[in-house]
Symmetry: C2
Subunit: 328 residues, 2 copies
């Protein structure tokens, strides 16, 4: 594995002991209500059941396990507005390493509280993610610390363990739909699924209100785009080059869904699965509804990538009409 | 084990292979936000992560695994308004046995849909649970089928596997708080915890708007009581004799909490854990808030017994004020 190489199934398999030292495989459940809705056999991969409520913790654990003693001693530095920071905080605590996380000044207080609860030092800096990130990179350099980027290969290797769990538990899977933010989940799923069985369709989904990754994938060049989505887990304004490269090789399709369809999907998931999905975690269902005709009668896995919806966001979602009327 | 004997830790251990043939242990997570709130180390046992969203499926799997060939052939008959029926439906499908479930005429359509989705035959009969139950007992007799009661010992043995998971993962637990409906969860937890370490406090909780089990426990005789709780998982009007007997022997305390406190706890759990708890599943947190001074600095496990809150119930809960303001 080099900086310019492509991660492989072997890298994912090598990450497993580091991930399963602290985590258990997450459930993959079939839901009859969702299956009826899509006209397919629909399973949900419950990454929302992870201890920090999102898949990223798998990547954090793999990365921190591989640190040199020098890196462990100097501590970790990263920037995040949410799940990535919680992942690094969780993994750092598990391994007894200090973590300093820069967040924008108006970061979600619930996610900040969660990072602090995990023992990380959280520092507010600047108006947005990019300014927080540039600042913390400078801090890391000045202190000789280890900066952690959002899409480092070691993170992708760890994240891929969920894709391997899906295929081991459901070898007859036909399609896996994965939400895309920075792209580590979709990249890892593409690598694992296509290496094992090139017939498995791997489909990415992003919000039409934050389409930078999708537009870049579709056009083959880096496209920046406006970012107004309610789903912060899908909110990427500047595409990441390494995950773009992987997704171009391994994704069969990459679709956009409206924020409105994402919120409707959060409500459907509450009703049919009694699980709280954050916007990103529900985007896979919104995509399945969009692609319903293509998925007919297939074995479809929706990755519920995370469940960290705030109470405020939930209030807006349940204020929507339906689904209430259902035939007894 | 006889009809009049008391279930034992050995019975629970013997149930494990039948349970783990189809289920995995559920997570036990510590939450720093809830710990700060209670002033203790607070863990949640996530029985809401079960495939049917509640702990009872463990009991159903143990019971169905032990059926005679004659019972398997004749099929199962039971009455339920919710999670018990889903448990029996899940276990019957897993073992290829037919299940017929009587529900009251105005049963929750979502739970009915779930039972049917699991392949059970659902029959509406009568205005309430008791009339549905009496009717289906007659049907079972007429057809020579196996009627399944709500608190049969084989169910209690299976349910006890979650208590054993708690103590194996957190041997230093000081107190376990368990919601009580029919009492199988609290009975099983009492048996397991007290047999292993009599110092572990086992505390039951029911709604003050459905206090029959608590009043019976406290007075030492069978007391019927009004039942107006919003938490159907706690709604028992007529106490069950066998679970009362076990709880009198093994519970340290049994408290009542107001429905209002239960709904507040559902909201707190959404905020701090991003898990959807049904009323019963949140009652353990409401009890911990009530007993906060007694629990100070202890290792406390809250059993989130189930997550099957309907969207309609959720709408009412999130319409409550707070928790929104939280220090960044």
């Amino acid at each position: 594995m080099t900086d310019t190489g492509m991660p492989s199934l072997h890298d994912v398999i090598a990450a497993r002991p580091h991930v399963y030292r602290y985590l258990k495989p997450t459930p993959l459940y079939r839901y009859s209500g969702l299956s009826d809705l899509i006209g397919a056999n629909v399973w949900v991969k419950h990454e929302n059941h992870q201890p920090v409520g999102a898949f990223k913790v798998r990547g954090g654990l793999n990365l921190v396990a591989r640190l040199s003693q020098k890196e462990r001693n100097s501590g970790l530095f990263t920037a995040s507005t949410g799940n990535h920071g919680q992942s690094i905080a969780f993994a750092a605590r598990a391994h007894g390493v200090r973590a300093t996380i820069a967040v924008p000044e108006r970061a979600n207080p619930g996610k900040v509280a969660a990072m602090r609860g995990l023992g990380a030092e959280v520092v507010f800096h600047g108006p947005d993610f990019d300014s927080a990130r540039e600042w913390i990179m400078g801090v890391a350099r000045a202190r000789g610390g280890r900066f952690v980027g959002s899409t480092e290969e070691l993170l992708i290797h760890g994240v891929g363990t969920y894709a391997l769990e899906i295929i081991e538990e459901l070898p007859e899977v036909d399609a896996i739909i994965v939400p895309v933010g920075a792209g580590s989940g979709a990249s890892a799923t593409g690598i694992v699924a296509k290496t094992i069985n090139s017939g498995i369709q791997v489909i990415g989904v992003q919000s039409a209100q934050a389409p930078a990754m999708q537009l870049s994938w579709a056009s083959g060049r880096a496209v920046r785009a406006d970012m107004n989505t309610v789903a912060e887990g899908l909110a990427t304004r500047v595409p990441f080059e390494n995950t773009q490269r992987i997704m171009r090789k391994y994704l069969d399709d990459f679709v956009l869904v409206e924020d409105d369809a994402i919120e409707a999907a959060v409500l459907l998931l509450l009703d049919h699965t009694h699980n709280l999905a954050e916007g990103a975690g529900a985007a896979s269902l919104a995509a399945a509804i969009l692609l319903k005709h293509r998925l007919a009668a297939k074995n479809v896995v929706l990755v519920m990538s995370g469940g960290n919806l705030s109470v405020e966001q939930l209030r807006r979602v349940v204020a929507r009409p339906g689904p209430l009327a259902r035939a007894g």
